[in-house]
Symmetry: C2
Amino acid sequence: MTSTLSSTPKEDGFRMPAEFEPHEQTWMLWPERPDNWRLGAKPAQKAFADTAKAIAQFEPVTMGVSTRQFQNARNQLPEYIRVVEISYNDSWMRDCGPIFVKNDKDEVRVVNWQFNAWGGLYDGLYFPWDLDDQVPVKIAEMELLDRYDAPMILEGGAVNVDGEGTLLTTEECLLSPGRNPHLSKAEIEVHLSDYLNVQKIIWLARGMDPDETNGHVDGICCFARPGVVLLNWTDDPKNPHYEIVHDAFERLNNERDAKGRKLEIHKLLSAPPRMITKGESEGVDIVKGTKPRQEGDKLGSSYINFFIANGGIIVPAYGDEHDRLVVETLARVFPDREIVSVPDAREISLGGGNIHCITQQQPSR
Amino acid sequence: MTSTLSSTPKEDGFRMPAEFEPHEQTWMLWPERPDNWRLGAKPAQKAFADTAKAIAQFEPVTMGVSTRQFQNARNQLPEYIRVVEISYNDSWMRDCGPIFVKNDKDEVRVVNWQFNAWGGLYDGLYFPWDLDDQVPVKIAEMELLDRYDAPMILEGGAVNVDGEGTLLTTEECLLSPGRNPHLSKAEIEVHLSDYLNVQKIIWLARGMDPDETNGHVDGICCFARPGVVLLNWTDDPKNPHYEIVHDAFERLNNERDAKGRKLEIHKLLSAPPRMITKGESEGVDIVKGTKPRQEGDKLGSSYINFFIANGGIIVPAYGDEHDRLVVETLARVFPDREIVSVPDAREISLGGGNIHCITQQQPSR
């Protein structure tokens, strides 16, 4: 039995655990729409399947699939991946999916934030987004988890927590006019505090992809463990992200977390931007209301968009010299986890995000 | 993790439990198609919701719902009914859904029979039936149950077991040309034995609804407990089912079950046939390929199509004088179970079946 609760997680003693805490399973959604994924989403489906298989080395994976693609997904994925029917508008489970919270008794509940495709009618990426918005309810039903309906638009990729009361986010995203223009920054902080049970919010200015997610924090920075963050980094002043990451460094370096700790900052290579090719662009249907994928558009191909699984790190790879450097950094920062690369991550980035954007961890009960 | 097994339940020591054995939950599907259910299925949805609520007094209920109807079903049903997305062609969970089997360690698996809408292109009730046919796979995935794919067309309503090795069925249905014309009666018996692990099959000649299910056994007869059956009954020679039920009585009376017991036969009132009215018929869309619901057509309104829940009997009621007599019989045959009537069962029968046809029990693990 699933109940819709009118209290808040904070009132009930539930908090959002960090991604590096133990997972029961990881949720994903199967890519399909031909107006976002080239060649009828076939190359992306292979990359999503590779991601699911990589994560399943460490923990169970459930793939949500539309009616139309159910049989194909069931055939493309090995039997150890659970495949369930869930409808959606696109396949960004991190952003449209639930954020799970848990209490000290290891009970787990769902927080159902509102979703409007990264900006709604203001600067959203497609229309409509009604099915995406129902995904958290459907997962709560399927898993028999109680649910909180949070009164604010928020995507999972817009926040990152240390599980000990600290939350990272960006002003560019949470204060963007397409999200919650009726809410002040202080009011947004109250909702984050009430529904994720955090005590300290660290605001970065901007993320890396203003045109896509309005600068999600999961494209620039994340906690590796309490007191330790990884930050996208470049020393090259000609890199278009130079100013953004240097400003983020300054802010992080001058902040303390909810426990009063100064943050240890590890720099993760931000490769020079990769661009959509003409051939790639031509494989995408052009549809009114959907952001086009045009030749020369920058890809969301930052390595920081990796996923932390139980005992593993699932990291995008692009087949160039940067891959190895990133794996070395991650192995140093996560000495107890195995680093696993997904080789065709470019196909995910062609749709507007990467491994972190297409996954959502459900904490252990 | 769900595996598709190439062995058979019989080989693995799994058997189909009787409906009167303990259930973990009951599965249903939400009615929707306007070419089978009058007035956009709204009256049927109320009757299905009432059925779900009646069963939920005794055990958990999961309702499978299409994408289109998810929000409406979630709103129509109380929170204690679990609602999950499953696509289908129509809402007869007994017939298109899984048959569950279990072993002595209380492990449960799914048997996935083929489904062709009660006769396929020969005399099936609608076209296509591809989504119905996938329902058992989707339930096995969702519940993480291993699965057998049985090499034969069979609906759950076509068989009834005592859980101790005996199966009831009808020749009219299992030997109908729209099912498995390439299989002999002996070959069909082998498949039933292999996949349901029964040792004795009792063949009745005919059921009550040749034009609908080709005479499913769940419209005429069922086990109440090992050695005891309930049989649809009329003493009125003018009742069109008079010959059918008297022939069934003779056969049952001359048979012994798998344990060598003679059967105790309880007679359950078969009311005179009820007919579709002009007004009811006019509420149904006419669509090529779907059996029309016409004024004067006989309804599948036999009381024997009740459902046995944990501690309860859920029985159709039609608001006439027969209802009370049937409840009295059921209270006598099931002294330890509470008899609960669903008052608007006529709305279910207008679609071609009744409470047993729209439910499928999942045995306890």
